[in-house]
């Protein structure tokens, strides 16, 4: 019997045993007990796995520990936000009036500052990415499901307190080759884009400014967080809440 309650047939069994020769799946042992052919296939798969295990066990060089810097030595550029417990954002007055309308036209911001080249490049990448997903910028009062949120903000990334705001969009996106959470929360003046960038360090807060929008890339631990909202959005208030809500896994 398989996990779904059905009797396992030979095809199902062989697919399952090739994926998991330890036969930890439900119904496997029962099927093999009454099917000689599949029992032989299992033995073949286990023999194959023995060889795979030995082949993967390559020689390992002696452990070399790199020079480990004193903790705090190179944390000078990190903005340490004062602690503030995340609170549920108040429902914006305009939610419910407008069903949903795209705000793509507001995007078109520029990097402001004299930071290093790497910060400028990251700012450009962030803005290009936001520009390419304008459909996400909707005014809505519908939040993404908890399951979708957890798929995107998963344990390999870290944790985020959902109460930072109404999360209306959550997708895994690729920035500089890394999978990152792209979230939209409903701010007081409109949709606010959050890109959680655990792999992207900046040397200090990177301001992003435009005619209609207001944003920043904030250093956070060994990564950073991009926050881009409408011009009138109270970013200062928002960034404290966002930074306090995010904790990286690494």
């Amino acid at each position: 019997m398989s996990a779904s309650g059905k009797i396992m047939n030979c095809e199902d069994y062989r697919e399952a045993i090739a994926a998991d020769p330890s036969e930890s799946f439900a119904g496997g042992a029962e099927h093999a007990a009454v099917c000689g052919s599949c029992s032989a296939y299992r033995a073949e798969m286990r023999a194959l796995d023995d060889t795979i295990t030995k082949a993967l066990a390559i020689d390992v060089p002696e452990l070399k520990i790199p020079d480990l810097p004193p903790i705090g030595e190179d944390d000078g550029n990190v903005v340490n936000m004062p602690f503030r417990r995340a609170t549920r954002i108040t429902t914006p007055a305009w939610i419910g009036i407008a069903a949903s309308f795209a705000l793509a036209a507001i995007i078109g911001v520029q990097f402001v500052g004299n930071g290093p080249e790497s910060d400028r490049l990251l700012a450009e990448t962030v803005l290009a990415h936001v520009d390419h997903e304008p459909w996400a910028l909707k005014v809505t009062d519908v939040s993404v499901s908890a399951a979708q949120f957890e798929r995107v903000v998963n344990p390999t990334i870290g944790t985020m307190d959902r109460n930072v705001g109404l999360v209306s969009y959550a997708q895994s996106c690729i920035i500089n080759g890394n999978t990152i959470p792209h979230l939209i929360i409903q701010g007081e003046k409109g949709p606010v884009t959050l890109l959680l960038l655990p792999d992207e360090m900046v040397h200090g807060a990177v301001s992003l400014s435009g005619k209609s929008v207001n944003g920043v890339i904030l250093p956070h631990g060994n990564g950073s967080i991009a926050i881009i909202g409408e011009r009138e959005e109270r970013i200062e208030e928002l960034k404290r809440r966002v930074v306090d809500s995010v904790e990286w896994s690494i």
Partner: protein, 171 residues
């Protein structure tokens, strides 16, 4: 507690965690990037990042998944930086040749080459399952894919290896 004492405790914890898992980290890195030299660099970067972020590791029992996640990210960073080409098995570096050096057992050498040739998407879950002892769920979380996709990849990986080995034996 003085800062020296805190640093000492931190270093003791780091050495304990890394000392136990170093072999796994290196082998995972080596099979991810298929180059012993790059694997050593990736592991060094991993250790540095782990040292800086050690406070984020709440339980030592979670250290393996935590460190493998860092290895995975450092490997991606390395290749993003260097923009390296895909490895061609016919033009291996000396390090790669050493990694595939024929073992006394010809079946093992054949298998090692077959694993080396596997697509990244198939090789990685196989390494995580067979070498690291990860469950399907753990592999899915690490690779940000669904458990069903992990099982499909594992199934296909083994069928490919089985076919390759059989082809080699027939030749």
């Amino acid at each position: 507690m003085s800062s020296n004492s805190v640093d000492l405790k931190r270093r003791e914890r780091f050495d304990r965690v890394v000392g136990v898992l170093h072999r796994d980290l290196y082998r995972y890195a080596a099979w991810l990037c298929r180059d012993p030299g790059i694997a050593e660099e990736v592991v060094q970067e991993t250790l540095l990042r782990a040292w800086k972020s050690l406070d984020a590791l709440r339980e030592d029992s979670a250290a393996k998944s935590w460190l493998l996640t860092i290895v995975r990210r450092e490997n991606a960073r390395y290749f993003a930086r260097k923009r390296l080409e895909t490895v061609d098995i016919d033009s291996l570096t000396p390090g790669q040749s050493a990694m595939l050096a024929e073992s006394e057992d010809p079946n093992l050498a054949t298998m090692r080459q077959a694993i080396f040739r596997l697509e990244d998407d198939y090789r990685e879950p196989l390494v995580l399952q067979v070498l690291m002892g990860h469950s399907t769920k753990e592999i899915a979380e690490l690779m940000s894919i669904k458990p069903g996709a992990v099982l499909t990849r594992l199934h296909r990986a083994r069928i490919k290896l089985k076919d390759e080995v059989a082809k080699e034996a027939a030749a």
